[in-house]
Amino acid sequence: MVALSAETSRLAAANGETALGGGALWQSILQGAAAVAAVTAGIVLALERRVVACGVLLALTGPAIALIQVPVPDAGTAVLFTAALAGGSLAPALAGAAAMTSPVARFRRLDWLVVGVALATAVVVQGLLPAALFDPPAAGCFGCAHNLVEVHDDLSLYTRLGHSGLILTVVWGVGLALRSGWRWVSAPRVVRLVNAPIVLAGAAIAVVAAIAAIHSLSTSTPGIDSTLRFCWLLQCGLVLVMAFGVVVDGQRARGLTRRMTDDVLAKASDAETLRVTIAASIGDPSLTLVFLRDDGALIAADGSNIAETNSVGAVVRVNRTDSEIAEIWYDTRFVGASYQLVAVVRAAGLAIEHLAANARLLAELDDLAASRLRIIAAGDAERRRLERDLHDGAQQRLIALQIMLQIVGSHGSPELTDKYEAARREISTALEELRDLAHGIHPAALTDGGLGEGLRSLSETSPVPLIVDGSRTSRHPIDAEAAAYRLVADTVSSAGKLTTASVVTVTLGESEDMLRLRLRAEGVDASTGDDIMSRALDRIVALDGSITVEETDEATIIEAVIPCGS
């Protein structure tokens, strides 16, 4: 690139009159600098900032600028002559297209059309087609080098193509300037700020291209005059502005990283503050910060799960040691400022890492709590199944056996009848024990009738008087009912073992989403109360509930709150 630029500058210096940019030293330096700057800025954009289309177009503008410097009639070699002949109009179109593809807004069909017309005009109508029709000797240029792409000599068609190319240039120049200007104006503030040099300078290049074309159309003599030369040098200056904008952006991003690092360290201790800080940096209030678990599942800062469909569009991924730990979701309208956003996120890296670890820990705690709940629920379900099996299976069989013994026994001899009678009594005892066992495992009244019926049934077999305050009929989740029932059952059976205990009173306070239990156990000491609480604790805490014990002079009071949500 630099070599090409140096070679064309040398040629231009030697044949200043036939080179578009002129042959003076400052003119050569301006054009060379524009070419080198365009290539460098384009590469930076495409590779470092991932603005690929815009970067590639800007980078291609560099060689195109170098080609325009070639004084066509005096181009030494056939290759350079042919390239200058075919590529002489590329630079403004490429720079304009780069401005259009700068990510300030979504690329619409109209944008495709404008960029397409610009590139097609420069590459085909003003490039390959006329080159293919141009025969240097026939056109009177005997000093010209050989045209490598010539297929047919048609000077009049060549001239008409040149005319059409100029008209098309006016069209795309104006269209591109208007479109990219509109795209820029309708973008959010931060996007406008970041992309101003590339878009506005690019649009200006398109306008100048249109002005130059109008000038060429209005003058009868073809060739290079001072207006065209001025236009071209102005365009080179504008390319320098575009490249300069890329440098400024880099500087601004670095400054942002520095400022944010202090900011984040100073105040972003929690996820929401950090989110707001990051959101404010690009002005997108809908920006969301989510974290990833090892299996890739998305979680919020509090560890709760997030449905992937919540994503608003654009994403910045935060990686640490080969794995992604967080994502920042933001509105696609702000994609044009993604480089700034990445700079901010880089500054917040440590804070994000810390929050991600925290979120994962919370998610794991949630998992643990859920698994504890599942274990308890599975245990309860197993108890219910066992109770049902005892009733519907073993008990029924024993009863059938009793009946058969009775039928068989009534037909036998008297002493056999006595033996059968004794056997039936044994079975009766077994049945009673089985019933007590089944009831202890899980009372059917609790399953079928709910907590109120379960407690009433308990009060009929309780070893100490159990008074249930207010009979309730509303049902609650079976886990919550079982937890409450077991607390009361354990309290009365513990009280039953004490000679001092007199009465246990349960007061139920129920609401839609909460089950409140107040147990007043008279004559029960605090240490027994603590034992009862510690046995009930796991079950109740697993349901997100709480339990407290308080001792008064005559009684121990146990209070439990069990949430019944979902």
Partner: protein, 214 residues
């Protein structure tokens, strides 16, 4: 006495059928679920239906529903509910709407054809029958001091018999005391418990059960 049996366990159903036949009952049909029972009752118009409380499809309270429907549609047919649950709430649910000609018997008692036969004959006669084990559990539960403690031994015994559904005549026959004595005991019990005395034996059972359950 014409009986239909509703019991889902085949072994038990057949055993009951034979047992009742040998005890002199006329078993006119046996079925294993609630729709079958309702059909059978409508077809055969029996004196009494012997119904298991838990039957297909849900194995929860089909027997109770069946009892309510039978007492509603066929007032002439008595219902004796069989249950393996020592739950007084099932007994009260059964008696709630149609206390007469209804009974609740624990299943482990049915092998004794005298007890079963006696219970069947009593519900057919219009009495109500509550299993003694249920009444014993209610009477024996631990409770804070109250009016029950003021009853004499004999009054407690009579309260128990009333809860099981016995009429005054049966009580005086069982305890071998005069009807006048029974009446005065009954009156004394109701007064001590603060209950209104009901002339209807089956309503009386409900009141006593409710008192004991409270």
């Amino acid at each position: 006495v014409r009986v239909v049996i509703a019991e889902d366990m085949v072994l038990l159903r057949e055993g009951l059928t034979r047992l009742l036949a040998e005890a002199g009952f006329d078993v006119v049909g046996a079925t294993g679920d609630l729709p079958g029972l309702l059909e059978l009752v409508a077809e055969t118009d029996p004196d009494v239906a012997l119904v298991d409380i838990k039957m297909p499809p849900t194995h929860t309270e089909e027997g109770l529903q069946g009892a309510a429907i039978i007492r509603e549609r066929h007032p002439r047919t008595a219902v004796l509910l069989l249950s393996s649950y020592l739950e007084s709430r099932y007994a009260s649910m059964l008696l709630e709407n149609h206390p007469a000609s209804s009974g609740y018997l624990l299943k482990d008692r049915v092998h004794d054809s005298t007890v079963l036969g006696d219970a069947l004959r009593r519900v057919v006669a219009g009495e109500c029958v509550i299993d003694p084990a249920i009444v014993a559990q209610l009477l024996g539960r631990s409770r804070a001091r109250g009016p029950l403690d003021d009853l004499t031994e004999r009054e407690r015994e009579i309260l128990g018999l009333m809860a099981e559904g016995y009429s005054n005549q049966t009580i005086c026959r069982d305890l071998v005391i005069s009807p006048r004595t029974v009446e005065s005991h009954v009156r004394s019990v109701f007064m001590k418990l603060g209950l209104d005395e009901s002339p209807d034996t089956s309503r009386r059972v409900l009141a006593v059960l409710a008192y004991l359950q409270a």
